[in-house]
């Protein structure tokens, strides 16, 4: 029998040995993966599935980098409603590679979209940021307030890109809406969460593999221009499209979208140094899981699925064998300055109580 390249391959190269009889708990990481040091500052961004990655990383002993935190006088529940704590900065979901590229270009002043303010859905003079329309649930009170907040935000984004050691980006969609005038890509179609849809000003895009590769490549170059040692992990969200404007059935549109993202991620990882692919998509979507990691709507990923993804991630990135516990709800202590100031005000009030002038 002659020798051939398949002879002697490791078990994970064979479906029968790697998959059959293994149940859903598949570990599809074959090659040496990026290794995280506890001191590494890890930043995250991406589509909504990326929120799960951020949630687990924060609780797994890594130096999870958050460059944009809510001010400590803001209660945790309020901060959460206003988009803090989801990612390393307050940019909300970043669904497409083009959106990510434009974020870094905007942060470093190389791209200024012509239209960068939308009317809030409730009107009344309130406005929203088209590039992160959900961070202020009722919109900003004024354009001046929005611009001040955006300037602060983009400064924190710059800080994040300049100081991170590892950037985890979860690719979510190929479909997006952009401004005809300058190609500014929005995370949400104009008119859905604010703004007004204008067919003459907005157009649908369904990015192709080559475009995604080009955007990711340009992003990596921009990132390494300010942070040459930055390492990158790409993942693809397994969460299907909530809706498609492509004209295809939403299942076909989802298949195209995820396939293109997966292919683009592969190409970028093969072409660029220190860009790694992590198979979240495969773990959840692969046949071994038998759709058991999806909730009843067959769209949202269950906590069990997320835990499996993160246990594989931690095994390869950090050598942690025990699966991660479900992260507890974060608690925030009261701000020290606020507490001290309240004590002082309380004392003044108590002193006023002592003054019972008679009535």
């Amino acid at each position: 029998m002659s020798d051939h390249p398949y002879r002697g391959l490791p078990p994970e190269a064979y479906w029968r040995r790697a998959i059959v009889g293994q149940g859903p708990a598949i570990d599809p990481v074959a090659r040496p993966f990026l290794r995280l040091d506890p001191a590494d500052r890890v930043a995250t961004a991406g589509s909504c599935f990326a929120q799960n990655i951020a949630r687990y990383l924060k609780r797994s002993g890594f130096g999870y980098l958050v460059s944009e935190t809510a001010h400590p006088i803001i209660p945790a529940a309020v901060a959460e409603r206003h988009g803090y704590g989801l990612y390393s900065a307050r940019y909300g979901n970043i669904y497409t590679a083009r959106q990510l590229l434009q974020l870094i270009e905007r942060a470093f002043g190389r791209f200024t979209p012509a239209v960068d303010i939308w009317d809030a859905p409730g009107g009344a003079g309130r406005v929203i940021d088209p590039f992160r329309p959900t961070v202020e649930p009722d919109g900003y009170a004024s354009e001046a307030e929005l611009r001040a907040d955006r300037a602060w935000h983009l400064a924190r984004v710059r800080e994040m890109f300049e100081t991170l050691d590892v950037f985890v980006f979860t690719l979510g969609l190929t479909e997006a809406w952009e401004a005809v005038e300058d190609g500014a890509v929005y995370p949400v179609c104009p008119g859905v969460a604010g703004g007004r849809f204008d067919p003459a000003a907005h157009r649908f895009r369904n990015f192709r593999v080559a475009e995604i590769v080009a955007d990711l490549t340009a992003f990596v170059a921009a990132l390494r221009a300010v942070n040459p040692a930055a390492r990158i992990i790409l993942t693809v969200s397994p969460v299907p499209l909530v809706a498609t404007a492509s004209g295809n059935h939403v299942l076909s549109a989802t298949t195209y979208s995820k396939s293109a993202l997966r292919a683009a991620a592969q190409e970028v990882c093969e072409d660029l140094p220190e860009v790694h692919y992590f198979p979240s998509y495969e773990i959840i979507m692969g046949a071994p899981a038998g759709a058991r990691y999806f909730a009843e709507d067959m769209r949202n990923v269950t906590e069990e699925g997320v835990a499996h993804v993160m246990s594989v991630f931690l095994r390869h990135a950090a050598g942690i064998e025990a699966g991660p516990a479900v992260p507890p709800v974060e608690r925030r202590e009261e701000d020290e300055t606020l507490s001290a100031a309240r004590d002082w005000v309380r004392l003044m009030c108590d002193e006023a109580l002592l003054d019972d002038g008679g009535d």
Binding site: A141, A144, D149, W344, A352
Partner: protein, 247 residues
């Protein structure tokens, strides 16, 4: 005005009580102004229950009803009115600022961390649970038509607040933090007033802004009317009584 006045509240009643005492001593036959400080020991615990079920203690409720039954007074409240000072009296080591809507021309510090008005409002509201419960109880027990009086404006004088703050924090071995910028103190007071006014509208209470004669040209409390860093003095209390008489 020929009616008595009854004012309920906490620390801000002190200025009114002091003014009322001086009035009574000067003219015993004049209609009297009486106050109840809800946190006095005799009413403790001031509030019982949790959340929306919080109620004034029975002793406090009976005292309020007794005042109304005996004197049929003009009913007013200075309840609450200090939560905003916890946020913006002391300079925070992470300086922040916010833009107040619908009031043009107020300074905004571009070097400070911006907090949106909506977030600032939510933070203030989250600290106002107890004050809201008090107002609900005031509306329930004292009936419609109660006049809620705006809390005193902040002092403009950084130095005076700083002197008071330095003494307090030094005694406790806490480093001097400094005083929050006056425009921030002013905006926080305005935002607090809006929240309380909105609550009053929901509860059917009337809302009386501070008398203009107590404010300087920028809206701050006249220095001669300050009791300490957050309260008015007897002269301020007298201005409040006059404003109630004029209604």
């Amino acid at each position: 005005m020929s009616r008595a006045i009854f004012v309920i509240g906490q620390s801000h009643v002190a200025a009114i009580r002091s003014a009322a005492k001086t009035r009574r001593e000067a003219d015993p036959d004049r209609p009297r102004t009486r106050v109840i400080h809800t946190m006095e020991e005799r009413y403790a615990p001031e509030l019982v229950g949790e959340g929306d079920g919080m109620r004034f203690s029975l002793a406090l409720e009976e005292a309020i009803r007794d005042q109304i039954a005996r004197h049929d007074p003009v009913r007013a409240s200075v309840s609450g009115g200090n939560v905003h000072n916890g946020f913006a009296l002391i300079r925070h080591p992470r300086p922040f600022d916010f833009q107040l809507s619908a009031e043009a021309g107020l300074p905004f510090d571009p070097a400070a961390e911006p907090i949106t008005e909506a977030m600032m409002r939510a933070a203030l509201e989250s600290a106002l649970d107890r004050d809201r419960a008090r107002l609900r109880e005031i509306a329930r027990i004292m009936g419609p038509g109660v006049i809620q009086i705006e809390s005193p404006p902040p002092l403009a004088d950084d130095g005076r607040i700083a002197a008071l703050a330095d003494g307090y924090f030094r005694e406790r071995g806490i480093a001097t933090l400094g005083v929050a910028p006056a425009p921030l103190r002013y905006k926080m007071w305005r935002l607090h007033s809006r929240i309380v006014a909105d609550t009053c509208t929901e509860l059917g209470l009337r809302y009386l802004p501070v008398p203009p004669e107590t404010q300087d040209e920028r809206g701050f409390l006249l220095p001669e009317l300050a009791g300490d860093a957050t309260h008015g003095n007897e002269a301020y209390g007298e201005a409040i009584i006059r404003a109630l008489e004029a209604m």
